[in-house]
């Protein structure tokens, strides 16, 4: 058991932190106010070669593992950009995963280099409003006529669709009634997000304003058969392969945001003097921050363990889910406590912790809620019967 990072991993952390450090609090507060996509940040990360960190080197990626990707996203989220910075590039890391794993050589050649260079932006169209967490209940359909599929339906929460020219899309290719089990009949497409057929409506939301989330209304979107990934009807299984990496990344992102919040609060607690002494001298201020520090460290370790299991191709579902749960909860608690530490000033935008709190909530809700993780752990780790 070795908990130290290699020289290369340390360098990744330092370099990412350095790139992120160029984007100031003012930059991110500005983006949060206007809602403009952080394109400068996205470009800087693409230029540094970070978008292809997990992609195969023959297509221009760095071929590094998930552990490295997690270290990188931890640094990104820990920067002032928080979830806005993370979400601006996050999809590049786990989103193309099904392409790498199940795509043909031709598809990889067509798609990966552009993704790695940041020329294409992709969004992820899975969630639907009627299905919610029950992904296999989605209703968007893809019906094949000749060499094309025609997609109809609606997606919700699709992040970055305003920017994206590609979409990773889950749709039903076989009616549910005709399927043997609930995971059958769904297919995964990677295709152009053609605005002639897709109406994209922005969802005004609580935080992370700079990275849009949307409702998509899809009407007869033509998808050439070359854009189907792998075999028809196996899309849900393919998707499962990218779920664990996504959970680990969301977990470390929440942790990074929480650590940023705790650092800001500790700093403020040393400087702010009330009743003749720094507020940080009070146990009601110190102890909760200390508790958060420990929870974040512990969550980080399990996330690292999950990533390392994944890279060694060992089962990592339990640990990946635990990392997302613990990270999400610890990050949320840390941000809440940080805001409370600032008192009234915590509510003011110029101290940034309210922005962190608004953004960290995403890590609790998406891509899977804490309750669903508890369900999963109860079933898979404890062998208890399914409760729902």
């Amino acid at each position: 058991m070795d908990f130290t990072l290699t020289a290369e991993q340390k360098a990744i952390c330092d370099n990412v932190a350095e790139t992120c450090g160029k984007f100031s609090d003012a930059y991110w507060l500005g983006k949060d106010t206007t809602g403009d996509f952080p394109i400068e940040f996205h470009q800087a990360m693409a230029k540094g070669g970070w978008l292809g960190i997990t992609m195969p080197d023959e297509y221009g990626g760095s071929n590094l593992g998930l552990l490295e990707a997690a270290l990188m996203m931890h640094q990104v989220a820990r920067s002032s950009g928080a979830m806005s910075a993370a979400s601006a590039i996050h999809i590049n890391l786990f989103g193309p995963h099904p392409i790498v794993k199940f795509g043909t050589d031709d598809q990889k050649k067509r798609w990966l280099p552009e993704l790695i260079h940041g020329e294409t932006k992709v969004c992820f169209g899975v969630t639907e409003s009627n299905a919610g967490l029950e992904t296999t209940a989605i209703e968007t359909s893809a019906v094949k006529t000749g060499s094309r599929y025609y997609v109809n339906g609606a997606k919700v929460w699709t992040s970055t669709a305003q920017q994206a020219n590609k979409i990773m899309l889950l749709a039903r290719t076989k009616p549910k009634e005709d399927c043997l089990n609930r995971i059958e009949g769904l297919s995964l497409f990677y295709t152009n997000l053609d605005r002639d057929y897709v109406d994209i409506r922005l969802i005004d939301k609580m935080g992370r304003k700079a990275v849009d989330s949307n409702e998509l209304f899809i009407g007869d979107l033509p998808v050439p058969e070359e854009d189907l990934l792998g075999e028809e009807g196996k899309g849900f299984q393919y998707l499962l392969h990218s779920l664990n990496p996504e959970r680990i990344l969301v977990g470390v992102e929440a942790i990074g945001i929480g650590q940023n919040a705790i650092a800001r609060a500790s700093q403020y607690a040393q400087e702010r003097v009330v009743f003749g002494r720094p507020i940080g001298q009070n146990q009601a201020i110190q102890h909760p921050l200390a508790e958060s520090w420990m929870e974040l460290e512990a969550a980080f370790l399990i996330a690292m363990q999950a990533a390392s299991l994944y890279d060694r191709k060992e089962p990592c579902g339990l640990k990946a889910n635990a990392a997302k749960y613990l990270g999400g909860e610890a990050g949320f608690k840390a941000c809440t406590q940080s805001l409370m530490t600032f008192g009234g000033m915590g509510y003011a935008k110029e101290f940034h912790v309210e922005r962190l709190l608004r953004e960290v909530l995403i890590c609790r809700i998406a891509p899977v809620s804490p309750q669903m993780i508890l369900n999963y752990i109860a079933e898979k780790a404890l062998g208890l019967p399914k409760s729902y």
């Binding site: 009070n282 146990q283 009601a284 102890h287």
Partner: protein, 376 residues
């Protein structure tokens, strides 16, 4: 809404409180626990002499005609002293069955014996499989001419160890979990066919598991209507929760007060531990939990006396009580540190008693679930 006690109620509360202070010091109680029976007959006589046994019974039955408010007043004070005599199990619990279901001749026979303290009563309604479901009754009562024959087992009969007379639930028809078909019987504890296994509970009380083998009970000892016992059981349980809950509220008050006192005298790092802010915060919350659960108790008592929403408010109270017991009980031990774990200090005894009350007549999650069911 009036939350103050009447003069009479105040006097009653004070008389119980005086008894606890003068006759029920921690060392007196320890001696009682050491004794053969595990409780003091002398104390039982005092209760009768001071007329506390008559409180729940109506004036026409020779009682004082008290409401749930009087019950609460007595039990809260008993809770402060961790009184182990079978007052709750005999006077309140078993007595409640008689008050609610007995016919006039049954009342005439039994109630005076409870009031004068000459006999001890106990109620046997829990079974191994029943958990908190009062209708889950396997013990059977089969009618044979002018008699019933009882067969089955009852567990955790509070005060069953010393009881002269038992109130027993048994099924006269239907399947084990049917709501209908549960009947109640008055049974002399020495009737042939009853065997007892006595045991002590963690909180210093005594209970018994009872086995019934062809126990003959005359039809005249059927309590209430045949097959309609569940409604009575539920009524009795509601009252029992109020009484035990009041006892717990009294004990919780002592727990938080003792913790605060201790924090002022225990010195660490050259200062009383009560100076540490995080301990102050915990103690403030213990105080708040106590006030909250006491308010819920008042609410439940008032609803009970008014006959409004009784079962719902009882469940709400028991949920809050469960939370308060955990929070105050566990933190009392925690803040006392190592000494809180010892038998020599009364804190651990209070902890054990309130913890037991937390699971009697339904624990927190049972009542939360029940509250939800009653609300939809």
């Amino acid at each position: 809404m009036d939350f103050s006690f009447s003069e009479e109620q105040t006097l009653l509360k004070e008389s119980v409180s005086d008894f606890v202070k003068s006759d029920y010091a921690f060392s007196d109680r320890a001696a009682v626990l050491e004794s053969e029976e595990g409780f003091s007959r002398k104390n039982l006589k005092t209760f009768a002499d001071l007329d506390w046994n008559s409180i729940p019974f109506s004036e026409e039955d020779g009682g004082f005609g008290g409401t749930a408010v009087e019950l609460m007043a007595v039990m809260e004070e008993f809770g402060k002293g961790l009184v182990v005599e079978p007052y709750f199990s005999s006077v309140i619990l078993a007595g409640s069955f008689l008050r609610k279901a007995a016919n006039s001749s049954q009342k005439e026979i039994h109630i005076p014996k409870i009031i004068d303290g000459s006999k001890i009563y106990a109620a046997a309604f829990s079974e191994l499989q029943s958990r908190y479901d009062l209708y889950d009754v396997k013990t059977s009562a089969t009618k044979e001419g002018a008699e019933y024959s009882l067969n089955g087992e009852k567990i955790f009969v509070l005060g069953g160890y010393a009881a002269d007379t038992l109130i027993v639930s048994a099924r006269t028809s239907g399947k084990p979990r049917d709501l209908e078909g549960v009947s109640l019987f008055i049974v002399a504890a020495d009737t042939a066919g009853i065997s007892k296994e006595n045991f002590s509970t963690v909180d210093g009380f005594k209970a018994a598991n009872l086995k019934f083998e062809n126990v003959k009970v005359s039809a005249g000892n059927l309590l209430g209507e045949e097959g309609k016992g569940l409604a009575i059981l539920e009524d009795v349980a509601a009252e029992a929760i109020i009484a035990l809950g009041a006892e717990a509220v009294g004990a919780l008050e002592i727990l938080y007060r003792k913790t605060v006192e201790y924090s002022k005298i225990r010195v660490q790092f050259n200062q009383p531990i009560g100076k540490f802010q995080s301990l102050q915060m915990i103690m403030s919350e213990m105080f708040i939990e106590h006030v909250q659960v006491k308010s819920m108790l008042y609410m439940a008592v008032m609803k009970f006396d008014a006959g409004e929403d009784v079962q719902k408010s009882i469940s709400a109270f028991k949920v809050q009580l469960g939370k308060a017991i955990k929070f105050i009980g566990q933190n009392a031990i925690q803040l006392h540190g190592g000494i809180g774990m010892t038998d020599e200090l009364d804190v651990s005894h209070y902890f054990k008693r309130v913890t037991m009350i937390g699971v009697m007549f339904g624990d927190e999650s049972y009542h939360l679930d029940r509250y939800v069911r009653l609300s939809c």
